[in-house]
């Protein structure tokens, strides 16, 4: 039986790889995409989400527009040098044909969870504003969500947007801290594992041979993202596999080694967005998050390649 999922996303170049992998995976039933700011504004990521469901004929999958700004903190200026001004590597794609549904992302999440109690897994791969606002608006959904598998955070490695913080958590640290306290199971797919999974130029050469709409789009949008990884980290055309790793976890969790631990999110000043694992239970009691610590990286890469090339 396939898993019912909602992908909460800010596409986004790696979001694109993740979403296309999910849409091509029979184990996953994508009930909808909900948009959020992060890699670009919510206005832009919403348009990109519509483009992605239309790319290979998944037009019937609803796209719901998410929050424009973080729960409490100010919206930080969005760096266009990672994903491009359009979130899609400055490729100026044609406008999507479809429109978002009337419901907001938060309403879509609340209504869908109530419609399928205990069955819906949320996959946030951007800042966690929509999820936190949904949990605050209707606290009863916390016990009805099957699981939250989020891409974000870093407990054993440095940050990326700052020396200590991963970008998704950083952009709405309060929202992240709320999600880390949710009563449903929460799995954190953070930089601890996503930076171990490296897509190389050779990987992309093989991927692009497929020549399907998904791989063709990835080929078009990728250079800006490769360029960022090279300028910032000297990776020479390779990239870290952030959002697609969350999808790989859903399809095959055995590729990951996890440990359950309370996770706290710093919300103030320099260390804003830092995720701290309280390994020895020294801070106040908090529900545990299942944190991914190790990954079978070739297994993840093979899985993604298999889905995108078949």
């Amino acid at each position: 039986m396939s898993q019912k999922i909602i992908i909460d996303t800010d596409p986004g170049i790696d979001d694109t790889i993740a979403i296309m992998t999910a849409l091509r995976s029979p184990e996953l039933e994508v009930l909808g995409l909900t948009s959020i700011f992060g890699n670009a504004t919510t206005e832009i990521t919403t348009q990109n989400a519509l483009r992605l469901v239309e790319l290979e004929g998944h037009d019937s999958i609803p796209v719901a527009r998410g929050c424009d700004v973080p729960l409490v903190m100010e919206l930080e200026s969005i760096a266009s040098d990672v994903h491009g001004r359009d979130g899609m590597g400055n490729t100026n794609l044609p406008a999507p044909k479809g429109k978002t549904i009337d419901k907001s992302a938060v309403e879509f999440i609340i209504d869908t969870v109530h419609a399928c109690p205990g069955e819906v897994t949320l996959i946030p791969v951007g800042p966690l504003t929509n999820i936190a606002v949904a949990l605050k608006t209707d606290p009863s959904i916390a016990n009805l969500i099957k699981k939250i598998v989020l891409m974000g955070g870093a407990v054993s490695v440095p940050g990326n947007i700052s020396p200590v913080a991963e970008a998704n958590i950083y952009h709405d640290a309060h929202a992240a801290d709320i999600v880390m306290q949710a009563s449903c199971p929460v799995v954190m797919v953070g930089l601890d594992v996503t930076e171990q999974v490296i897509m190389t130029p050779q990987f992309f050469d093989e991927l692009f041979k497929a020549g399907n709409p998904a791989t063709n789009l990835i080929r078009r949008i990728l250079p800006v993202y490769q360029d960022y990884h090279d300028r910032f980290l000297g990776m020479g055309g390779s990239i870290h596999t952030h959002d697609p790793s969350a999808i790989a976890y859903l399809i095959n969790p055995d590729l990951f080694t996890t440990k359950s631990v309370p996770v706290f999110v710093e919300t103030e000043r320099r260390c804003k967005g830092k995720t701290t694992a309280d390994w020895h239970h020294q801070w106040e009691k908090r529900v545990e998050t299942e944190v991914c610590l190790e990954v079978n990286s070739s297994g993840v890469l093979d899985l993604i390649k298999e889905r995108l090339t078949k």
Partner: protein, 308 residues
């Protein structure tokens, strides 16, 4: 008919404010959204349902946020009694909660009556802040928001600097104050001294011999005692009904002005302080209005009229 929406953490003075609106013939209360504040939202919802039923109405009561945005709740049992209603322990109403979520129902009501809906907030602003995050368009669709909250003169009740509603969820208040909703802040300073009902005035209210007058006095039994023993304030103070009176008859606010007003969210001694830039020293544009003065006799007369 004027359209109203009431957001409330229904305890004793909220209940009187709700009663005033429901008993105003040219006002149609579209819905009542409950938020955690004086009492847990479940208790507040019970109290709101009881009040609606007392007034012979079927106004939908919706369940909203059970916690502030970021902070832990702090109940005000000491002021309102363990049931929030002066320990009257009223029976459960036969009116049941509406199924829809308060925040979603509020958004839908604002959109359905865009430009023709007044909001009266009587509790922490959590529900309204969440609604603004989900649907920022509603800010421009609310005709006027009357907020019981804040202390423009920095005379706090829950701390020296802060009034309870703002203190409980300062982040939510900050969101609402800066959202662009036309808002009149009616602070706690208008619910003291002569604005309170003296022993004689309460005796007169009792002599009305109506269930509404009795309810007004009974459910505030704890509040009257606490007001006297804790604040040294005489008589019955009714913060939420003062704000409701201003919403029902804006001429009761006799002095008001527009200012840049911010809410302290990080201060150690000043959490929830409403910082009013009356002299314009920040050079920031005005975001809300502040009520400086009310016509005390007009406010009292309005209440007397509604409970007879």
């Amino acid at each position: 008919m004027r359209k109203f929406w009431i957001d409330t953490d229904t305890a004793s003075d909220d209940a009187v404010a709700i009663l005033m609106a429901l008993r105003t013939t040219d006002v149609d209360v579209l819905g009542i959204s409950v938020v955690a504040g004086n009492v847990p939202a479940e208790q507040g919802a019970k109290n709101a349902c009881y009040t609606v039923e007392l007034c012979g109405k079927k106004t939908p009561v919706y369940m909203g946020a059970t916690h502030p945005l970021l902070r832990e709740p702090e109940w005000a049992y000491f002021f309102h009694g363990e049931d929030g209603m002066g320990n009257m322990h009223y029976p459960d109403a036969s009116l049941t909660l509406a199924k829809e979520n308060a925040i979603i129902a509020f958004i839908e009501a604002v959109r359905a009556h865009a430009g023709d809906i007044n909001l009266v907030t009587l509790g922490p602003l959590t529900n309204i802040a969440l609604a603004l995050r989900i649907a920022p368009d509603i800010a421009k669709k609310i005709s006027m928001c009357y907020t019981m909250g804040g202390a423009a003169v920095t005379l706090g009740n829950v701390s020296p600097a802060a009034e309870y509603n703002i203190y409980i969820d300062p982040e939510a208040a900050k969101i609402v104050f800066h959202s662009g909703i036309p808002l009149l802040m009616v602070g706690w300073e208008h619910c003291m001294g002569d604005a309170n009902f003296s022993a004689n005035e309460m005796e007169m209210m009792r002599s009305f011999k109506t269930k509404y007058a009795d309810f007004t006095l009974d459910c505030n039994a704890t509040a009257i005692e606490t007001n006297k023993n804790w604040l040294g304030e005489p008589g019955l103070a009714l913060p939420d009904p003062v704000t409701m009176a201003v919403a029902l008859d804006p001429s009761i606010c006799t002095e008001r002005g527009s200012y840049y007003v911010d809410v302290e969210t990080v201060g150690e001694a000043t959490r929830g302080m409403t910082v009013v830039d009356k002299l314009g020293v920040t050079n920031k544009p005005a975001n809300i209005e502040v009520c400086w003065k009310i016509d005390i006799q007009a406010w009292k007369n309005l209440l007397y009229e509604r409970i007879q």
